[in-house]
C-alpha cells in the first residue's frame, strides 16, 4: 500500500497513467481478450472431479431392466395423447396411481403479454400431473424431481414412458431416503414455472393462475429434466445454463458424466463431443468453440431446458436430451434407465444440499472446467480499461482545475447542473424502451398492419433507434454547454456508470458481462467529440447492445456449423428480441430490463459525448 499512500509514488503513478494512458488501455484490452482465449487451453482448465463425499467413491449397482416396459408405456402414452389431443391427464393419473404413487394434478392458466409467434400461443391453459413416491420411514422433508415436458406432436413420448418405468421400478425399492416427484409438465417452461411457484407458494412473475393446494414433499434437493424422442439414442446432450445464466452445482454435472462413463454412454455438451487429445491446435479450437457456445448461451440468459427455472429456488437441476443421430452404435432404454437410476440413487445418498463444488464455472468440454478464479481476470482486464480511462479523465480535470484556478467564470462550473438533462433524457429513453413496446402494442396494431408480436418487436427497435437522435435535442436544453470540460465530465460519468454496471453484471452472469465489456469498452474508451467523428460513430454503433446481440446470433450459428444468411440472421434477431421480452414477463429473466434500463442509457450517454457541440 506504500505505493498509494506515499505522495511521491502516487504522483509518479498518476503521471504514468496520464502519459501512457492510451497504450496502457490498449494493452489491458488485448490482455483481457487474450486471457479469455487462453481459457480453453488445457493448463487453465483442470479436470472435473466429484467434490461431494456422499456421492463419491462408491458406485451403485444399477438393476433397472425394464427398457421394454418403458417403450410400451411410451406407445400407450402416445396413443392416449393423440386421442386426447393434448396431455392425457386422466390416463397419466390412473397409470401413476396404479404404480403406487400419490398423484396430484395442477391446472394452470396464463395469458401472455403478447402472442408468442414462434410457439403459437397466447392464452395458455394446461395441466401438470405429478406423482410422489413417498420414501419409507422419512418425514417428507426432502425430495428429488424427475420432470418430463409433455410437448405437442410426437415428441418426448419415450421420456414419459421411461419416467413411468423408472417410477414403477423405484416404487419397489426400499432404500429411498428422499421422496421422488415424477412430474409431467405441459407447455414446457410455462407449466414448469406454474408448478414451481405453486409448490413454493410464491408468486414471482405475476399472473399465473393455478390451483392452490398441492401435495408437497419438502425441500427439493435436485431435479433432472428428461427429453427423449426416440426408442434408441446415440448420445446424450446435457444442458446446464438456466434462467439469467444461473448454473447448477458442478457436482450434478460430474455425477452425470460419471454415470455416462460407467455405462459407456456418449455424452456431449453444447452438442460437442469431448476430444481425447488436448495438445493439438484443432483440439484447442474445438474446446474454444465449446466454450464460446457456452458463453453465448449463458449470456442470452434464457433457460436451455426445463431445468432452468429450478435454479432460482436453489434447486440444482440439469436437462438431459437424448440424441438419435446417424452414428452406428445405439443405446437402448435399459442403458438410459440405468444411468438415471444410478444418478437418482446417488442423489438419494446426499446428506446435504449440493454445495461442495463450484457454482460459477465455464466448460470447454464436459470433463474440464474453468473456475471463477481463473476466468474473472479476463473480465478484470477489460474493466481495467475503463478504470484507467476514468482516472485519466479525473486526473485531467483535477489537473485543469489546479492549473487554472481563476479561470473564466462561465467555464468553471458548466458541470453538474448542465449534465442533468442528458442523464435524465437517456434514462427516460431507457424507461420508454422498457415500458412502451408492451403497453403500446394495441395502439400500434390499430395504426399499422402488423400483428401484436411484430408490433412489440418493431416498437422496441424503433424506440431504440430513435434514441440515437436524442443528442441533437438535448443540446437545445443545454445552456452554456460546448466546452471541453462539459463533455469530459459527461464521459467520466458515462464511464463510471458503465464500469459499475458491468462490474455488477459480471458477478451475476459472467458471460453477458464479458460480451458487453468486450464490445462496449473500446468504443467507450475511444469516444470523444473532436476526432474522426464518422469512424467513432461507426465504432459506437457497432458497440451497441443490439449490435452485440446480432453479432452473437451470427457467431452462434457459425459455431454450431449452420451459418445464417443475412436475412435469416435478421429474422433470428427479431425473434430473439421478442423472446427476450417474453422471457422477462413470463419468467422474470433479467437481460432485457438490464439492457433497456442500464446498458442502453449508458450507451446513449456515450453517444451524447460523441455529438457534443
Amino acid at each position: 500500500m506504500g505505493l498509494l499512500s506515499d505522495p511521491h509514488c502516487r504522483r509518479a503513478l498518476s503521471r504514468l497513467v496520464l502519459r501512457l494512458n492510451t497504450p496502457l488501455c490498449a494493452l489491458s484490452y488485448v490482455m483481457g481478450l487474450g486471457w479469455f482465449l487462453a481459457l480453453a487451453f488445457q493448463p487453465l482448465a483442470p479436470r472435473t472431479y466429484m467434490s461431494e463425499n456422499a456421492m463419491g467413491s462408491t458406485m451403485v449397482e444399477e438393476q433397472f431392466l425394464f427398457g421394454e416396459r418403458a417403450l410400451s408405456y411410451a406407445r400407450e402414452f402416445a396413443g392416449h395423447k393423440k386421442k386426447a389431443g393434448g396431455m392425457p391427464v386422466a390416463w397419466l393419473e390412473k397409470t401413476m396411481w396404479s404404480l403406487g404413487l400419490e398423484v396430484h394434478r395442477q391446472p394452470f392458466a396464463r395469458t401472455l403479454p403478447f402472442p408468442d409467434e414462434t410457439r403459437e400461443r397466447y392464452m395458455v391453459k394446461g395441466t401438470n400431473v405429478y406423482g410422489i413416491l413417498r420414501a419409507p420411514r422419512a418425514a417428507s422433508t426432502e425430495s428429488l424431481v424427475l420432470s418430463v415436458p409433455c410437448t405437442e406432436g410426437p415428441h418426448n413420448n419415450q421420456a414419459v414412458g421411461l419416467m413411468l418405468a423408472l417410477a414403477a421400478y423405484f416404487r419397489g425399492q426400499i432404500y429411498w431416503a428422499k421422496d421422488i416427484i415424477f412430474l409431467v409438465n405441459e407447455h414446457d417452461l410455462l407449466g414448469m414455472e406454474a408448478w414451481l411457484e405453486a409448490y413454493h407458494d410464491v408468486n414471482v412473475t405475476g399472473e399465473v393462475r393455478s390451483s392452490g393446494t398441492l401435495g408437497r414433499a419438502g425441500a427439493i434437493q435436485a431435479a433432472i429434466s428428461l427429453e427423449l424422442s426416440s426408442d434408441v439414442v446415440t448420445s446424450f446432450d446435457v444442458a446446464v445454463e438456466g434462467l439469467n445464466g444461473q448454473l447448477p452445482n458442478l457436482d450434478l454435472l460430474n455425477l452425470f458424466h460419471a454415470f455416462c462413463q460407467k455405462n459407456g454412454l456418449l455424452c456431449t455438451i453444447q452438442g460437442k463431443l469431448p476430444r481425447s487429445d488436448w495438445d493439438s491446435l484443432p483440439a484447442y479450437a474445438h474446446s474454444l468453440q465449446t466454450l464460446l457456445l457456452m458463453v453465448l448461451a449463458q449470456a442470452s440468459g434464457r433457460p436451455r431446458g426445463d431445468h432452468g427455472l429450478f435454479l432460482r429456488y436453489r434447486i440444482e437441476a440439469i436437462t438431459l436430451r437424448g440424441i438419435n443421430s446417424f452414428r452406428q452404435y445405439k443405446y437402448d432404454m435399459t442403458t438410459v434407465g440405468k444411468t438415471l437410476e444410478g444418478m437418482f440413487r446417488k442423489l438419494n445418498n446426499l446428506l446435504e444440499r449440493l454445495h461442495q463444488s463450484y457454482f460459477f464455472y465455464l466448460l470447454p468440454s464436459l470433463s474440464r472446467f474453468v473456475s471463477i478464479g481463473i476466468y474473472m481476470p479476463a473480465f478484470g482486464f477489460l474493466l481495467l480499461v475503463l478504470i484507467l480511462k476514468i482516472s485519466f479523465l479525473g486526473g485531467r480535470e483535477a489537473g485543469e482545475g489546479q492549473a487554472a484556478p481563476s479561470g473564466p467564470g462561465m467555464d468553471s462550473r458548466p458541470g453538474l447542473l448542465a449534465l442533468v438533462p442528458p442523464l435524465l433524457i437517456c434514462q427516460a429513453a431507457g424507461l420508454a424502451l422498457y415500458c412502451l413496446p408492451v403497453l403500446g402494442q394495441r395502439v400500434a396494431t390499430q395504426h399499422f398492419p402488423v400483428s401484436e408480436a411484430e408490433a412489440v418487436v418493431l416498437t422496441a427497435i424503433a424506440i431504440y433507434v430513435a434514441g440515437m437522435a436524442l443528442p441533437h435535442s438535448t443540446h437545445r436544453v443545454l445552456a452554456g454547454a460546448g466546452s471541453d470540460r462539459g463533455w469530459m465530465t459527461l464521459k467520466l460519468l458515462a464511464l463510471l456508470y458503465l464500469a459499475l454496471q458491468l462490474g455488477c453484471l459480471a458477478l451475476l452472469n459472467f458471460s453477458l458481462g464479458f460480451l458487453l465489456a468486450a464490445t462496449m469498452v473500446p468504443a467507450a474508451a475511444a469516444v470523444q467529440p473532436n476526432g474522426p467523428r464518422v469512424l467513432l460513430a461507426v465504432l459506437l454503433v457497432l458497440a451497441t447492445p443490439a449490435a452485440t446481440l446480432l453479432l452473437g446470433i451470427f457467431l452462434q450459428r457459425e459455431l454450431v456449423e449452420a451459418p445464417a444468411a443475412a436475412g435469416e440472421g435478421w429474422q433470428l434477431f427479431l425473434a430473439a428480441v421478442g423472446e427476450g421480452l417474453l422471457q422477462h414477463h413470463l419468467y422474470g429473466a433479467l437481460p432485457f430490463p438490464f439492457l433497456a434500463l442500464c446498458a442502453y442509457p449508458a450507451w446513449l450517454l456515450l453517444w451524447n459525448v460523441l455529438f457534443w457541440k
Partner: protein
C-alpha cells in the same frame, strides 16, 4: 374413571363391552395384557399395532415398593424418584400419511416426542425434566439428552392428562420434540427388554428388527399413567403401555400382490402366548367398507368376531385368542393370512380431519410457514386446537399471522403466544380455530432466519434445520353416539 381419550387427537370413543376375559392375574398385584391389531389401510398397506400393557396395583411414588415383578424396575424407579405423574415417550421413524391411511391408532410426530406431567409435589419442574430426559436418553439409547430449554415448551391448552389427575396445572407439564432424531434398532432393543417376556415368547417374537425396519412407518412408544384400581376408584394403579406401530408397504415387499400373512410381514409365526400374560390376542380388522360385501378373507377362520366403535366408525374384528388351547390344536403355529377378495377401488375415503404443513418461499433470508387443515365433514363444523413450536432461530413475525378459510379471515377464539428468547426458549403458539364444514383452512406466518454463531450450526449445516411438527387436537364429530364403556374389559386399542 379413566378418560377414554386418545393421545393427541381427542376423540369421542365408544366401545361395547366385549367378551373380555377377566385376567387370571387379578389376584396377583400386577398383570400383563398383550395384543396385536392388524388393520388393512385404505391404500392397500397393512398397519400392525402391538400393545403391551402392564398394570400394577401399587402406589409407586410413595417409594414403598422394593420388589418388582412385571413392571420394569428402571421405569418404576424413575417414576418414583422424579415425581412423574404421567409420561409419554414416542420414537417415530417415518410419517403417518393421514390422507391415504386414515387416522392412526396412535399419534406420534416424526422423531422423538416426550411429554410429561409432574406431580404437584415436585418443586423444581425444570430440574426434574432435565434429569428425566437424561435418564430416558440412557434407557432408550436415544438423543433425548438434547432436550433443553430451547426446545421445551409448556403448552396451556393442547394437552390434558390422560390418566387420573386432580388438577391440570400446566406448569407441571413439559413437552418437547426432537424432529431430527433417527430411530433404529438401538432404540428397539431397550424397548423390547422392558417387556416381561422379552422377545422370547408371546406376540413379541414377531418383533424382529430386520422386518420391522423394512417398513414404511415405525413408531414405538411408552406411556405411563395412573389409573383407577377398580370401579369405585378409591385407590390408584399404575399402567405402563408399550406400543409399537409399523406399516408394511404392499409395493416394496409384495411384488404387486396385496395379500398378507404374519409370516410375510414378520418372517415369523406365533406359537404361544407369553406365559406371564393374562391376555394375549390378535385382532384383525375385517370391517366391510361402504356396507358392501367383505373385502377381506382371513384364514384360519377366527374363533370369534368382535364389534367395536373406534374413532367414530363401526368396525368388525376377527379375534384369535392365543391363550385358548383350541387355537394350536390343528397346527402348531398361527399364521394369520389376509386376502383381498376384489381389486380395490381407486377412490380412497378421505379422513374427516387431516393437515399438511410446509415452508413456502425461497432464499436464505425469509420464509413462511403454512399449515393447511382440512375438514372434509359434509355438514359439521368443529374446533381444533393448534400448537406450533418453532425454534428461536426462526424469528416469527406475529403480525403476519393470517388464518384464512374459504377466502375469508377466520378469527381464532383463543390465542396463546409466548415469544422466543434467543438461545433460551422457542416460540410457542396455541390457537383454537373453528373449522367450518367441508373447508380448507390456511394458516400462514412469516419468519426471518436469524444469524447463528458458527458453533451453533448443527453438523451438516447445508442439510437444513428441522422445525418440529405442530400438534392438532380436535373433537372429531362422529355419527355414532357415545356409550358408557367399561374400559377395563374392552380391547386395548379402543382406549388411549
Amino acid at each position: 374413571m379413566a378418560a377414554a381419550a386418545a393421545a393427541l387427537l381427542l376423540l369421542l370413543l365408544a366401545a361395547a363391552a366385549g367378551p373380555g376375559r377377566v385376567g387370571a392375574g387379578r389376584a396377583r398385584r400386577d398383570a400383563l395384557r398383550e395384543e396385536l391389531l392388524l388393520s388393512p389401510l385404505p391404500a392397500g398397506d397393512v398397519a400392525a399395532t402391538f400393545q403391551f400393557r402392564t398394570r400394577w396395583d401399587a402406589d409407586l411414588p410413595r417409594g414403598a415398593v422394593s420388589h418388582y415383578r412385571l413392571f420394569p424396575k428402571a421405569l418404576g424407579r424413575l417414576v418414583a424418584a422424579l415425581g412423574v405423574q404421567e409420561l409419554h415417550l414416542a420414537l417415530t421413524q417415518g410419517f403417518w400419511r393421514t390422507r391415504t391411511w386414515g387416522q392412526p391408532p396412535l399419534q406420534a410426530p416424526a422423531g422423538a416426542e416426550l411429554w410429561v406431567w409432574f406431580q404437584p409435589t415436585v418443586t423444581d419442574v425444570d430440574k426434574a425434566w432435565k434429569e428425566l430426559s437424561n435418564i430416558l436418553s440412557g434407557i432408550f439409547c436415544a438423543s433425548l439428552n438434547f432436550i433443553d430449554s430451547t426446545n421445551t415448551v409448556t403448552p396451556t391448552a393442547s394437552f390434558k392428562p390422560l390418566g387420573l389427575a386432580n388438577g391440570t396445572d400446566h406448569h407441571l407439564l413439559r413437552y418437547a420434540v426432537l424432529p431430527r432424531e433417527v430411530v433404529c434398532t438401538e432404540n428397539l432393543t431397550p424397548w423390547k427388554k422392558l417387556l416381561p417376556c422379552g422377545s422370547k415368547a408371546g406376540l413379541a417374537v414377531l418383533l424382529k428388527a430386520e422386518r420391522l425396519f423394512h417398513s414404511s412407518y415405525h413408531s414405538q412408544a411408552v406411556h405411563i399413567r395412573p389409573i383407577c384400581r377398580d370401579a369405585s376408584c378409591l385407590a390408584v394403579s399404575w399402567e405402563l403401555r408399550q406400543t409399537l406401530t409399523v406399516v408394511f408397504d404392499t409395493f416394496s415387499s409384495g411384488q404387486g400382490k396385496k395379500d398378507w400373512s404374519l409370516f410375510k410381514m414378520f418372517s415369523r409365526t406365533l406359537t404361544d402366548a407369553c406365559p406371564l400374560a393374562s391376555q394375549s390376542k390378535v385382532y384383525v380388522d375385517i370391517s366391510p367398507k361402504n356396507k358392501e360385501k367383505e373385502l377381506l378373507e382371513v384364514t384360519p377362520a377366527p374363533a370369534s368376531v368382535y364389534e367395536a366403535i373406534v374413532q367414530g366408525d363401526k368396525r368388525t374384528y376377527a379375534v384369535y385368542d392365543l391363550l385358548s388351547p383350541s387355537l394350536f390344536n390343528t397346527s402348531r403355529s398361527l399364521n394369520v393370512q389376509l386376502k383381498w377378495k376384489r381389486p380395490q377401488d381407486t377412490e380412497l375415503p378421505t379422513p374427516v380431519l387431516h393437515a399438511q404443513r410446509y415452508v413456502s418461499g425461497y432464499g436464505l433470508q425469509t420464509g413462511e410457514i403454512s399449515t393447511l387443515i382440512y375438514n372434509t365433514h359434509p355438514y359439521r363444523a368443529f374446533p381444533v386446537m393448534l400448537l406450533e413450536t418453532v425454534p428461536w432461530y426462526l424469528r416469527l413475525y406475529v403480525h403476519t399471522l393470517t388464518i384464512i378459510t374459504k377466502g375469508k379471515e377466520n378469527k381464532p377464539s383463543y390465542i396463546h403466544y409466548q415469544p422466543a428468547q434467543d438461545r433460551r426458549r422457542p416460540h410457542l403458539l396455541e390457537m383454537l380455530i373453528q373449522l367450518p364444514a367441508n373447508s380448507v383452512t390456511k394458516i400462514t406466518i412469516q419468519f426471518e432466519r436469524a444469524l447463528l454463531k458458527w458453533t451453533e450450526y448443527t453438523p451438516d449445516p447445508n442439510h437444513g434445520f428441522y422445525v418440529s411438527s405442530s400438534v392438532l387436537s380436535a373433537l372429531v364429530p362422529s355419527v355414532i353416539a357415545m356409550k358408557d364403556v367399561d374400559v377395563e374389559q374392552s380391547p386395548l386399542f379402543t382406549s388411549l
